[in-house]
Amino acid sequence: MSAVTLSGVGKRYRKYSDSAVLIARGRERIRRTTRSETWALRGIDLEVERTECLGVIGRNGGGKTTMLQLLAGVSAPTEGRVSVRGRVAPLMAVGVGFHPELTGRENVYINGTILGMERAEIDKAYDDIVAFSEIGDFLDTPVKFYSSGMMVRLGMSVAMRSMPDILLVDEVLAVGDVAFQARCFERMQEIREAGATVIFVSHNLNAVRNLCDRTLLLHQGHRVLLGDTAEAISRFHQLLDEEREPEETDEAPAEGRRIESVVLSDASGARTSTFTGGDTATATITMRGCTTGRLEGLELTISSGTGLAVYRELLAVPDAADGRDPVVVTVDLPLRLPTGTHHLAVRPRATSGAHEAESRSSFYVKSRHGLFGQVDLAAEFSREPAGGGR
């Protein structure tokens, strides 16, 4: 039997901006409107098996949080059916119920109980929890004196040890230092191998790619795609780019130039946002500008998923005689980049120094195994024939 089954699930929220619920509802009843109703999730069918790791991605407001809430059982669906088999540990609830006045030790017991552990169970797991959290000497100190990292570590350690059948994980893993994160991922794998299901909701697409067998892409509460993780991530980038395309206007902006679109395509000319490391991507940039000021060039920036600029260059682009006509520029970019999500930003630079809006698009590079860092220098290894030493 599947660990998690959703069939035709929808969740409708009513948003009452600021006013009292009673007054807002009364007002609606009188005006016969349902203006404040929004579907956060609609028509979701999903089955997750044991030991599977499912990624959930999508933009903010796509319904990811709502889905986690339904799976944790803290909210109920407006329509459809949610079925969960086994103990759920919502890792987004890390440190829930921690009381600042109580010591680390006391909070471990309270937190464990909230997560559904029995006292004997906590006794047994206690040493392990303490070791994993690396809190050590601070266990008998009220947690209000803890750093935020310590709080998260302690909370995470309890949750990881609560022997869940289904682990719900959101961005909490982004907190805490890198070493602790790595241990959390390791522990998650162990929990999975022991037969648990992991549902991982994240904006960190690299982590989703590394961890998840299948990925669900949500957009505005609907299921866009459920399937192979790489495919879902690629579709997600496409979705982001589609949304970013500016609306058509007859008039050019009063001043400066505007990038109308940036389209990425591969060697065969097909539009895509997923590339293989080392391949050349072609960016077709359409720009429209007005007559004031002279164009100095286009500034291209490629940055890694963490926001670090890997490459930036000002390309001299001949200015069009009449700025009203669109200018199309194609740029070939050899993608010597490691695996991960990258961003391409294009910004027109005018001699006047006026600030121009940049256009950003994202793409995903799948590079060869064992390549880390920010850039692929394509180093070549060769080996001298033996004989020099002896």
Binding site: Y13, A20, V21, L22, Q69, L70, A72, G73, V74, S75, A76, P77, T78, G80, R81, V82, S83, V84, R85, G86, R87, V88, P90, M92, A93, V96, G97, H99, E101, L102, E106, Y109, I110, T113, I114, L115, G116, E118, R119, D165
Partner: protein, 275 residues
């Protein structure tokens, strides 16, 4: 806790009553743990600690006893302090627990937005936490009675049903109001206003038979009349007309429990949508 350890099925917003009750029953360790935390955290940083739990109601009762016996002059058979204290102890538990328990679901939004347990756990926890302090108050109560020459007898055992009734009334009202408070945040202020009147329509400071006219009607339909009367009966003996008020209290408790159950059945899983 056990709630959801085997999993759950959600279809529609309401929680079926058997499921609700089963979840609540298996949440006993959680209630115990949270209540202990709530009680000890309250007194942890105070130098006199738990002593406050016993002494504060005692002090308040002493002030009222002084004012009402010397200034207003209420005549009672037993010494006025012994007459006032048992009923006041019950009243004080009720009036200090109810406001906190009634806002407990909203106040613990951080907890209940992330993890599921029946929301009824929260108001019940508040009542249980208050019981720890009430144990000290009861010891002080018996001490005062002995000091005034009212030695404990067989009727002192009436304190057991009295405490049960008090806890049931406070819990059922807390359950109902805490659920309503999520939707109508006016409830807490309404409750504050109500409690200030409520004390005076409860025969705590005056004997039951001194209420006349409209006051007598208000006193009779008041669920706290029977509960306070039972506490008084355990110490100084039952007052005339007491049995009727006890029946009214029981009816109130039953009615409130049913209403609370219906509110929690409907909204248990969706309180968090509005928190």
């Amino acid at each position: 806790m056990g709630a959801g350890n085997e999993g759950f099925d959600l279809e529609g917003e309401a929680t079926p009553i058997p499921e609700l009750l089963a979840d609540l029953w298996s949440s006993r360790p959680l209630i115990g743990m949270l209540a202990k935390k709530e009680f000890f955290v309250k007194y942890r940083r105070a130098s006199f600690g738990i002593l406050w739990a016993a002494c504060l109601p005692l002090f308040q009762a002493a002030v009222l006893a002084l004012v009402f016996s010397r200034v207003v002059r209420v005549d009672t058979e037993a010494p006025y302090a012994v007459f006032v204290f048992p009923a006041y102890a019950a009243w004080s538990f009720f009036a200090t627990t109810l406001p906190g328990a009634s806002t407990s679901i909203v106040d613990n939004a951080a907890l209940s937005n992330k993890i599921y347990f029946p929301r009824a756990v929260l108001p019940i926890t508040s009542v249980v936490a208050a019981l720890y302090g009430f144990a000290f108050t009861l010891v002080a109560l018996l001490g005062v009675c002995v000091a005034f020459g009212e030695l404990p007898g067989p009727r002192t055992l009436l304190l057991v049903p009295a405490v049960v009734l008090l806890v049931l009334l406070t819990s059922s009202l807390s359950l109902l109001i805490s659920g309503m408070h999520v939707y109508f945040r006016d409830m807490r202020f309404f409750l504050q206003a109500a409690l200030s009147v409520w004390l005076f329509v409860t025969p705590v400071l005056y004997p039951l038979d001194q209420a006349t006219g409209a006051l007598a009607v208000a006193v009779f339909v008041n669920p706290m009349t029977g509960v306070c009367g039972l506490f008084r009966a355990a110490i100084t003996g039952a007052e005339p007309g007491f049995t009727g008020t006890l029946a009214v209290s029981v009816v109130w408790i039953a009615g409130t429990l049913v209403a609370a159950l219906l509110v929690h059945r409907r909204y248990n899983r969706v309180f968090s949508d509005l928190l």
